[in-house]
């Protein structure tokens, strides 16, 4: 039918742009990872050599595993924070008698929508060892012993960065949980009440189990976000994950590996960079599939 054929033309622009700049690059990235290409000159096929080097050569393997462990730590800590705070505040905010709910929602969501790099610079100023607001506040409270070079000390830098990271994300999780709670029918809570459940018991026995699918989905999202961390960490440390790689994460490592050769002589070239990207993509796809299965199993019908 002519009508339908012409309608298919409407698909073309999206299909062309998406294929060229998204689908084809994903596949190409995998192909690059089997070469030793530096970005210019001929590509040499080297099989799995990049992957072997990445996992065995100390100059690559050490920062790689360290960055990976930092991403996992970031994921774990941000789960505790965002789910803990997010759930608590969502429970508080879903009380209908509370005044100013809209205002609090608005404020809590604010850090999430602002540019992470800019917010990172502002926090960097707050944490400044000499001129920062945090140390000055501590000194003026007579807690001079508690002052630190928050972003400069080896064992403090990453925890400091993680707290900023969590503060940025918590508002998003508050909103997620509020939306999920709204979807729980009123009758269920009323029934629990009739059966003699107090508010906290209702939360524990009725609402939390019903929030299971949401929790699983948010865990997955948190995992993906944690492995995407770049802007904020770059702003609060630098490309090397200062101090001494204590704040290094995989996207920073990926950027250094791939583009180091363009900007400085220490990079490994596009082939090795693509290998790092492929390992990350594989990890994310694997974890996503696991979670999708678990989420499907846990779906609830009201």
């Amino acid at each position: 039918m002519r009508h339908k054929k012409r309608a298919l033309l409407l698909l073309l622009p999206a299909l062309a742009v998406y294929s060229l700049f998204v689908a084809y690059p994903y596949i190409n990235s995998l192909l690059y990872s089997f070469t030793d290409w530096m970005g210019v000159g001929p590509k040499q096929f080297v099989g799995l050599r990049n992957y072997v080097h990445l996992f065995t050569e100390p100059r690559l393997a050490r920062p790689f595993w360290r960055a990976l462990s930092h991403n996992l730590l970031l994921f774990g800590v941000s789960m505790l924070f965002t789910v803990g705070l997010g759930l608590s505040f969502a429970f508080i905010l879903s009380s209908r008698r509370l005044k100013g709910r809209g205002f609090f929602k608005w404020v809590y969501f604010l850090p999430y929508i602002l540019p992470a790099l800019s917010a990172g610079f502002i926090w960097r100023y707050i944490f400044h060892p000499r001129w920062g607001a945090l140390n000055e506040a501590l000194r003026s409270l007579g807690l001079g012993d508690w002052t630190h070079a928050w972003l400069g000390e080896l064992n403090l830098a990453f925890p400091t960065i993680m707290s900023v990271w969590c503060l940025r994300l918590t508002g998003l999780y508050i909103l997620f949980f509020m939306a999920a709670m709204l979807a729980i029918p009123e009758e269920l809570r009323d029934a629990a009440k009739v059966d003699g459940c107090g508010r906290l018991k209702t939360i524990w026995y009725i609402e939390l189990p019903l929030l299971r699918p949401t929790l699983l989905l948010l865990t997955l999202l948190n995992f993906i976000t944690s492995f995407n961390a770049f802007d904020m960490i770059y702003a609060l440390s630098d490309l090397s994950g200062a101090p001494l790689g204590q704040s290094d994460v995989l996207t920073l490592f990926f950027y250094r590996t791939a583009f180091g050769s363009v900007h400085d002589p220490f990079g490994e070239g596009l082939g090795m960079g693509a290998a790092v990207a492929s390992v990350m993509a594989l990890l994310l796809i694997g974890v996503s599939l696991l979670f999708f299965k678990a989420i499907q199993k846990s779906q609830v019908e009201y």
Binding site: K4, R6, A7, L10, L11, P13, A14, L15, Y18, F21, V22, A23, Y24, P25, Y26, S29, Y32, F89, I92, L93, R97, G100, F104, K105, W106, V107, F109, L110, I113, L114, P115, A116, L117, S118, A119, F121, I122, Y125, I126, H128, G132, A133, E136, L167, L172, L175, R189, D190, K193, G198, L221, I224, N228, D231, A258, L270, G273, A277, A281, L284
Partner: protein, 280 residues
């Protein structure tokens, strides 16, 4: 809920809850408040104390960031890139979504899955081949190249939202138009596009936030300083003014302001859109 809610909110516990809510709101807002106050100080005042107001509010700091720091140029670049990326995503995305939602053709399910796959894997992991591709067609280090990349990277999200929205619109309106002999392009532009405006607004806001705030893609694809977007410009400005926090904070505030203004007027779309589209 109401009865329980009443119980939990009575008396002292009610006061405690408000205290917690306000405390957390203060923690959230404080950095931005401090950034605004500090950006109006002189350097000597910053060195003397971080927790005081400026003696004289120095608008000069903003002039230095805007004029000498080239933020006026970066601002224009960001408006240009963000604007065209939004138009591109909305146009291409809604055209494709309309067909995917309304027409049955072989391979439709596979095509939908193909578009949605882009939602799972972060686009950052595909930047190397895109970098090579842009370089080989002469679009590396151009705003046009950057715009094309943003359109492609955000299409998955747009198609995901818009396809669902098109499906929710009753078919009667189009069927009448088909009987009148209207072709698919006219139906799409004249009948369907106006009907999906609410969804377009939501997608538009999300794309605005993603593109305006993005640091990674400009960092990879833009080299010439004069072609920086605002966030990349701030990053380079920071490198040149390492110890001049009053200028850096003025610059940071310039990048925040447009998002903040839009959030004031369209907070519902922000919340709706960004809780569905979590990726970056």
């Amino acid at each position: 809920m109401k009865i329980n809610g009443q119980r939990i909110l009575h008396g002292g516990s009610r006061g405690l809850l408000y205290f917690l809510l306000i405390l957390y709101a203060a923690v959230t807002l404080f950095p931005f408040f401090l950034s605004v106050v500090s950006s109006f100080k002189e350097l000597q005042e910053l060195y003397a104390s971080a927790l005081t107001f400026p003696a004289v509010w120095q608008w000069e700091n903003y002039r230095i960031a805007w004029v000498e720091g080239d933020f006026s140029l970066y601002f224009r670049n960001s408006v240009y890139v963000t604007g065209l990326a939004i138009v591109g995503v909305l146009l291409f995305g809604s055209m494709a979504s309309y067909v995917l939602a309304r027409y049955v053709f072989p391979g439709r399910t596979a095509l939908s899955a193909f578009f949605l796959a882009g939602l799972v894997i972060p686009f950052r992991l595909a930047v190397l081949p895109v970098f090579v591709l842009l370089r080989s067609v002469g679009l590396f280090d151009t705003l046009g190249g950057l715009i094309l990349v943003y359109i492609a990277a955000d299409l998955s999200f747009a198609i995901f939202i818009l396809t669902n929205y098109f499906r929710s619109i009753p078919r009667e309106l189009e069927e009448a138009a088909v009987v009148d002999g209207a072709g698919p392009f006219r139906i799409y532009f004249q009948i369907m596009l106006p009907l999906v405006r609410p969804a377009l607004a939501t997608v538009g806001i999300v794309v605005f936030v993603w593109v305006w705030n993005d640091f990674f893609l400009p960092l990879v694809f833009i080299q010439t300083a004069g072609k920086s977007t605002l966030v990349l410009g701030l990053f380079r400005f920071f490198g040149r003014h390492l110890y001049e926090w009053h200028y850096v904070l003025a610059g940071a505030n310039i990048t925040l302001l447009p998002v903040l203004m839009l959030y004031l007027f369209a907070s519902r779309q922000f919340i709706e859109g960004l809780t569905v589209g979590v990726r970056k």
